[in-house]
């Protein structure tokens, strides 16, 4: 029955950037455009793009935007690229949410860093790729992402990722995956000679690593709160 109650349709909707409303040239230019094709603009729906707009956290600001557009026979119906706070205020002002929007705080996992959630709204986190040898004394941190190294990781180097770590070369330094607490993160390497491996805070130092796995391609995972090393 629900299929009959809700029907899908695609509409063309104008998008107005929030910053343009503040521009004194905006209203005269809009009026000029409408004068040229009044039928197209009459009661046309408008979505307000809040990308990079810090304001619009009060309902009165949405009312003001609605009023400006109303003067030009346009009808504000929703927002996009809104922060969770803006989205909530917009909902209070009776405005719909159009994708893309930042995810609601309640929907994102508490382990995700807020920065990742905001800057990468709907796409998967990008993998950090390192193609040069990671030299002793160097530290590389893939924040909120996987880390792929296609060269050797030297003793005394440290590679850290909130996600998984892949090393297509000898892993001789330290590797810390799931640094943000992700217990499902894993470490893969084509030659295990590591000084230390860690997943979500659980770690093994070199002498605790199984000697029979040393020098071999392995993956390391957290199983029942224990780090396990298995040959690939």
């Amino acid at each position: 029955m629900a299929g009959n109650l809700v029907q899908g349709a695609v509409f063309t909707v104008m998008v107005v950037r929030a910053g343009m409303l503040r521009d004194p040239a905006f209203e005269p230019e809009l009026a000029e455009q409408i004068r040229r094709s009044p039928r197209f603009f009459l009661n046309a729906p408008v979505v307000l793009d809040l990308k990079a707009a810090a304001e619009f956290t009060h309902e009165s600001e949405f009312a003001e935007a609605r009023e400006i557009l109303r003067r030009h026979t346009l009808s504000l119906i929703g927002v996009q690229n809104a922060s969770p706070a803006q989205l909530q205020t917009a909902a209070g002002a009776g405005l719909a949410s159009f994708a893309p929007n930042a995810p609601q705080p309640s929907r994102s996992s508490p382990r995700e860093s807020p920065r990742t959630a905001l800057s990468l709204p709907s796409a998967a986190a990008k993998t950090r790729l390192v193609t040069q040898p990671v030299r002793s004394g160097t530290q590389i941190y893939a924040r909120g992402a996987d880390l792929v190294v296609t060269a050797a990781v030297s003793p005394g180097a440290e590679i850290i990722a909130d996600g998984n770590i892949h090393v297509y070369g000898p892993l001789r330094g330290r590797a810390l995956a799931g640094a943000g607490g992700d217990v499902d993160a894993r470490i893969f390497c084509s030659r295990l000679e590591a000084e230390l491996v860690s997943i979500a805070g659980h770690y093994l130092v070199s002498e605790q690593l199984p000697p029979e796995q040393q020098g071999f391609p392995v993956q390391i995972a957290l199983v029942d709160d224990r780090l396990t090393v298995t040959r690939n």
């Binding site: 040898p133 990671v134 030299r135 002793s136 004394g137 160097t138």
Partner: protein, 286 residues
Amino acid sequence: MAVRVMVRRRKGEVFLAGKVIVLTSGKGGVGKTTSAAAIAAGLALRGHRTVVIDFDVGLRNLDLIMGCERRVVFDFINVINGDAKLNQALIKDKRNDLLYIFPTSQTRDKDALKRDGVERVLEELKESFDYIVCDSPAGIEHGALTAMYFADSAIIVTNPEVSSVRDSDRIIGLLASKSRRAEFNLEPVAVHLLLSRYSPERVRKGEMLAVEDVKEILSIPLLGVIPESESVLKASNTGTPVVFDEESPAGRAYLDAVARFLGEQRELRFLQPERRSLFRALFGRA
């Protein structure tokens, strides 16, 4: 005592700027100064105008290795501070007309190496020399960082043992991030490996890392392998760069390294334990 004329070299319309080579290692005692002296002398023997600069302010040694310690009047720091002119401080080598030594101060410390002053001096040297060989101090502090900062090429002097290899690895990382070329996103510093104090006999016994092991860990091109040799010690003590000793395997290995640096192909030598000839076994030491 000092140099009289500095020639500003031009070839047609093209201005020939000298290349800055730093010899560095992180770890001390691996043979940086010996190698800097030998490489600089080797470049001069190949017909290139070369100056070798001592960056080890306060622990001056290059002048001793080059045998010019009694001719030092002004030094690198004097020139940086504008107290002396470049040609008052440069010392011309007595064995080779193309070779100059630029000693440093024994009384000052590394803080005297001001980056803008060093840059000004290097730029001035680039106008009259093909190669400017910088002998870096050990460590990764200001002195070593200043020595490497302006480098076009780096020769990483490494001994075949794990601590030296790890320190070299660190230095290679610093060259890739802290050099002027890295900061200005220019073509990266060309990094070469020079393996010194190599003893094939001890490698065979498993007491030393083999060439292949070091190459594998550092993954940079190998410029040369210098065999452990008594002639190096003798050369240091007599103030003669070892390349001037034609009998010495180490001297010949350095000349090979210089040839490779200049782009020639040379087979690696002195990687096998030396077989004592019957004559030598009977009549004396190798």
